[in-house]
């Protein structure tokens, strides 16, 4: 496989993937030390999806996200420090500590927020797409959701609506094979979520979700289509989460060899090898890796040192 992408873009994509991975691994650690309140759903293993898709977007484009949202956030360009601070419940976090891991958002970069109600983000993405159309800008919307979410009624209503109105929405299904402990085959009778596109008269594509360039290319086509006023696309990215559903889940429901197989398809490792083949030198890669690990350390420090909000702030921000 070759690519026409400039080296800088490739390295930037690699950097983003590393940021996500590093961020999640650090969170895992902090959680074990009881420093993360509530729960977290880690994105490790699925980095190629968020980064592949978001690399096809412009800054002013929108994304909507899920309970597994840190990766989307970082891929869209969110600040690691404020993301980390939010997840730790700090006042300096994106949502002043009101949202936490499951409601991360950065409206300044078009990250319209994570909803923790599975499937609830889809109609919101449709609305953002409609807004774009009515305001006549050339923004587009990428809407992330899991294969489990594709069984929600909102999936159906949203894809239908986006289709009839030819809205600039790219629906990105992160098929990581499981919804909590429920394997895809228990919850639906089809192999490819992409096939569901037929029901709405829109294109549906399945892609290797652990290959960031494959995701990127697929997303670029869908983005162009969206920006060109031709309407939505459903992209299914086949991927796998490295860890349990949420921090406390040992994921015993997954066969060991399945896990091993997917770990061997680690999107970061694969992309690193590719970068070398594309002529990025080892030293350059290591420099990025070093930089990212410093960024993560800095994010943690920032978050840890940040104050909690004052209790009474709980009463603010209910109404505008």
């Amino acid at each position: 496989m070759t690519t026409d992408l400039p080296k800088e873009k490739l390295v930037e994509m690699y950097q983003k993937m590393l940021q996500i991975r590093g961020f999640e691994e650090k969170l895992f650690e902090l959680y074990s030390q009881n420093l993360v309140p509530g729960t977290i759903h880690l994105y490790a293993g699925e980095e190629a999806v968020a980064v592949g898709v978001c690399s096809s977007l412009r800054k002013e484009d929108y994304i909507t996200s899920t309970h597994r949202g840190h990766g989307h956030c970082i891929a869209k360009g969110a600040d690691l420090k404020r993301t980390m601070a939010e997840i730790l419940g700090k006042k300096t976090g994106y949502c002043k500590g009101k949202g936490g891991s499951m409601h991360i958002a950065d409206f300044s970069i078009g990250m319209l927020g994570a909803t923790a109600v599975v499937g609830a983000g889809l109609p919101i993405a449709v609305g953002a797409g409609l807004s774009v159309k009515l305001r006549k800008t050339d923004q587009i919307v990428a809407c992330f959701f899991g294969e489990g979410a594709s069984n929600q009624g909102t999936f159906h209503e949203s894809l239908n609506m986006a289709s009839i109105w030819k809205l600039p929405v790219v629906f990105v299904c992160e098929n990581n094979l499981y919804a909590m402990g429920t394997r895809q085959s228990i919850a639906m009778n089809i192999e490819n979520i992409a096939d569901r596109a037929v029901a709405y008269g829109i294109p549906g594509v399945s892609v290797d979700g652990n290959d960031v360039l494959a995701v990127y290319e697929t997303a670029c086509k869908a983005s162009e289509r969206a920006r060109g006023g031709e309407g939505p696309t459903l992209i299914e990215c086949k991927t796998y989460r490295h860890r349990g559903h949420s921090r406390v889940d040992p994921a015993r429901y997954r066969p060991k060899d399945e896990v091993a197989e997917w770990l061997s398809k680690d999107p970061i490792k694969r992309f690193r090898d590719k970068l070398l083949r594309f002529g990025v030198v080892e030293g350059e890669i290591q420099a990025v890796e070093k930089e990212v690990s410093l960024q993560i350390e800095e994010a943690v420090r920032f978050a840890m040192e940040s104050p909690y909000p004052q209790p009474e702030e709980a009463l603010e921000d209910v109404y505008a």
Binding site: Y62, T64, G93, Y94, C95, K96, G97, K98, G99, H103, A105, D106, F107, S108, L112, G113, T115, V117, A120, L122, P123, I124, A125, V126, G127, A128, G129, L130, S131, V132, K133, L134, R135, G153, T154, E157, S158, N160, M161, I164, W165, E316, D317, V318, Y319, A320
Partner: protein
């Protein structure tokens, strides 16, 4: 002053706001040029503003409201119509968990200026799935405003306030109010949220009523004045969230008695909250127990004698008033 119907007052508000602000648009089932809304509130608007801004939708209540949310947080001011209030149940997640919470959850990064218009109320024999009054559910949703206009004047003024505001609003209409006529100024005006309106002054007893019940309360008040010379003050909260607690309490302090008349079913309804407010904040001024006049705890039946039996009427209001005076 000229008189127009409640329906036309709502339509005028939509028209004027759509002219004033290009970010206002409408969406809902059959609101467009082929039907003009099940109750004709949007009749002619698709012709005037085009199908982009007056948008017929598939039968997808959840996505209708969700789409409004997405549009609202990205710069638009959608006004969604849910054809019958009972069907808000299908959009409950998008209304209560998304629209109402989005600002708070995201630490005030977003605002969600949108309106959901929907008709509640019984009285036209269309049975259990098309007749409920569910305002109380939405009073229990922080982050959402709930408006309950009972007159053409309030309908136009509250809808304008709703559209211009930066928060999600459920505008509760009432099926039987659409044809009602009332005075509505030609000039631009708004009705503020959180300010109850004393629809009739009185001194012996406060009757708090909402939506269609305001008119039954006014009829009952007239009757009682003639009849036993009881002077009834009729207070219309106009918005349930924010609720003008001070306005209600002020009236209770004056009269010492309160009857609350709502069309929803009694238990945990709108009247419960108002009763609770009075029990907490004005107990010492009460000369008699609080009274609720509401629908009994049943679904709305179809057959005319059955339906008539469950809807509060002038007689039941008069009876309640007499019990406390």
């Amino acid at each position: 002053m000229r008189k127009i119907t409640y329906r036309d007052a709502l339509r005028e508000a939509l028209i004027e706001e759509m002219h004033r602000d290009a970010s206002v648009f409408l969406l809902g089932e059959d609101i467009g040029k082929y039907w003009g809304g099940a109750f004709k509130v949007t009749d002619g608007l698709a012709q005037e503003f085009g199908e982009e801004r007056v948008r017929d939708t598939p039968i997808s209540e959840s996505a209708i409201v969700g789409t409004a949310v997405g549009a609202a947080i990205t710069g638009m001011r959608p006004v969604a119509e849910i054809m019958f209030g009972d069907l808000t149940a299908l959009a409950m997640d998008q209304i209560a968990n998304q629209a109402a919470k989005i600002r708070y959850m995201f630490g005030a990064q977003a605002k969600c200026p949108m309106v959901v218009r929907t008709p509640f109320g019984a009285g036209v024999n269309i049975a259990s799935h098309h007749s409920q009054s569910l305002e109380a559910w939405f009073m229990h949703v922080p982050g959402l405003y709930v408006a309950v206009p009972s007159t053409p004047f309030d309908a136009k003024g509250l809808l304008k306030t709703a559209i211009r505001g930066d928060n999600p609003v459920l505008l509760c209409e009432h099926k039987l109010l659409y044809p009602l006529e009332g005075e509505v100024p030609q000039d631009d005006y708004t009705v503020p949220f959180g300010v109850a309106d004393v629809k009739r002054e009185g001194s012996d007893v406060t009757v708090v009523a909402v939506l269609f019940m305001v008119h039954k309360a006014l009829n009952a008040a007239k009757e009682l004045e003639k009849d036993g010379a009881i002077s009834v003050e009729v207070v219309d909260p106009r918005t349930l969230t924010p609720l003008d607690r001070r306005g209600i309490i002020k009236s209770v302090k004056k009269t010492g008695r309160i009857v609350i008349v709502t069309e929803d079913c009694r238990t945990a309804g709108v009247s419960a909250e108002i009763a609770a407010v009075v029990a907490e904040e004005a107990l010492d001024y009460l000369d008699a127990p609080v009274k609720r006049v509401a629908e009994p705890d049943t679904p709305i039946p179809f057959s005319p004698p059955l339906e008539k039996y469950v809807i509060p009427d002038e007689k039941s209001i008069i009876k309640a008033v007499k019990e406390v005076v």
